[in-house]
Symmetry: C2
Subunit: 289 residues, 2 copies
């Protein structure tokens, strides 16, 4: 077991590692992150290790996916702690480019994805997916891994990345990794660190509400009725605000037109506990006949 992890800080260094592995016929898995790593990120590495010979995690807090009023400056950063966690999970390389490597002076190209990026998170955070699409394109083309892993926690982001990779013909396979949860079911997130002890108790109610709703939907409950019920329960649990509660098709992310769920879908929510924005989602199977 190793405690230290090599760190690449430039595209050239990153590509030197990848080229060396490729010359040895080793496959490469890649997990792009914004750092402040928790067990959910380490599950990305673990999932990649099941598929690839070598794994790389990147840490870059991407300014282009934060709006001016958002938490770019106070977003948690702990590179040394992150590197130790990655090493303990068996990661082979940390890629931690400084901002001037990612966005040198004169940088003026952006990638945008229409359709799947527009509702829900796209409405709540208009800058978000443009920033994500651009930085993920850069990271994937800098690294050119065989497989890149993204968490289902950010389910819409996963679909945006899959759409983009297909549309631009990037030679990379995108793997979705199931959401990692705390013992009480709260979806792991770097932003959970913002929660006060009281808000942390409220936050844990979200996954319980969703899990119950999924059961009801899979038993044939009416979609609109269930969504309204979820909203009522969220406020009752002590959340301060709801951005959205929605059901969308699992792959196409289109609204479900039928009164009950007849095809694989996803139940998605964005709420606030105090000032902290939390998102979660769960798969909804087609109603069992």
């Amino acid at each position: 077991m190793t405690d230290t992890l090599p760190i690449a800080r430039s595209v050239r260094e990153l590509r030197t590692y990848v080229a060396r592995w490729r010359n040895q016929n080793l496959t490469v898995g890649f997990a792009p992150t914004m750092g402040a790593l928790h067990d959910g990120h380490l599950d990305l590495i673990r999932a990649l290790k099941g598929r690839c010979d070598r794994t790389i995690a990147s840490i870059f807090v991407n300014p282009k996916q934060f709006a001016a009023h958002e938490d770019l400056d106070r977003y948690p950063r702990d590179e040394a702690g992150d590197a130790a966690k990655l090493a303990s999970a068996g990661c082979d390389l940390l890629y931690a480019p400084p901002r001037e490597v990612m966005y040198p002076d004169g940088h003026s190209t952006s990638v945008s994805v229409a359709g799947v990026s527009e509702p829900l998170e796209g409405e709540a955070r208009p800058h978000f997916f443009g920033g994500v699409a651009t930085v993920v394109t850069k990271l994937l083309l800098q690294c050119l891994p065989d497989v890149a892993a993204f968490g289902e926690k950010d389910y819409q982001q996963l679909l945006v990345v899959k759409r983009m990779v297909r549309d631009l013909d990037m030679p990379v396979e995108i793997m979705g990794v199931p959401t990692t949860r705390e013992a009480d079911g709260l979806a792991m997130s770097s932003r959970n660190a913002y929660l006060s002890p009281e808000e942390r108790i409220v936050a844990a109610r979200l996954n319980v509400i969703l899990r119950e709703a999924v059961e009801q939907l899979e038993s044939g409950a009416n979609i609109m009725t269930t969504l309204v019920k979820i909203e009522r329960q969220i406020f009752k649990a002590g959340f301060s605000e709801i951005d959205y509660v929605a059901i969308r098709g699992e792959d196409d992310f289109l609204p479900i037109a039928s009164p009950i769920v007849r095809r694989p879908a996803r139940l998605l929510v964005a709420v606030r506990a105090g000032e902290t924005r939390l998102i979660d989602n769960m798969a909804v199977g087609a109603m069992r006949p």
Copy 2:
């Protein structure tokens, strides 16, 4: 000498050729075109052959870079003739994807480049560079050549592609290839086929006017005075319309603020002979002291 050229029509076929060459440690050069090939396109292949072991040309008339009123439908197409020309120039593979390979249903990702794409052609043809950036990204990522060649005839496009490749960290070198001209100096273009015999005579005046202006600028002529003089000469020569006559920095494509040319620049024009839009450009060296 071979007269026939293998043709790939899917990304998978294209990548099979490229992978085979890579396994033999051969380097790959790529020239994306819209077909209707002339000697200027073949010069791209010849330039690539000086740098790479194998060369690929693509032919795809990209609908995304045409506006509704433009000439997408009547744009000249002659795949058999193009293939024969490429074979005679020593090209190793033609990539001719059908529209559904490039833009399958649901395609919704686009690449855009701010800054260098905005003036001149960007003003005259607002759809153009977005369409170019998206299709070139796809073609480069489908092929992943070592070097891709673009003609200096479309000088602003060359700068847009260079900027985009750098900004998105595509692992491809972009090579600019000097404009190929007819015996009378007319820049070769697939759209020259639209010219009537009378317009063809007018068209040939453009390069003469530009060449004289470059000489004067390099001898210290005032920029504004020279641009006005060029415009007067263009109308006098019988052109029906001027989109722009401009001088820009060779690399940054910024306007030249000084009264005379003090750093490497480019003189660029877009005009119409009859209904046919023609562009041309020439390098302007910094004034010799």
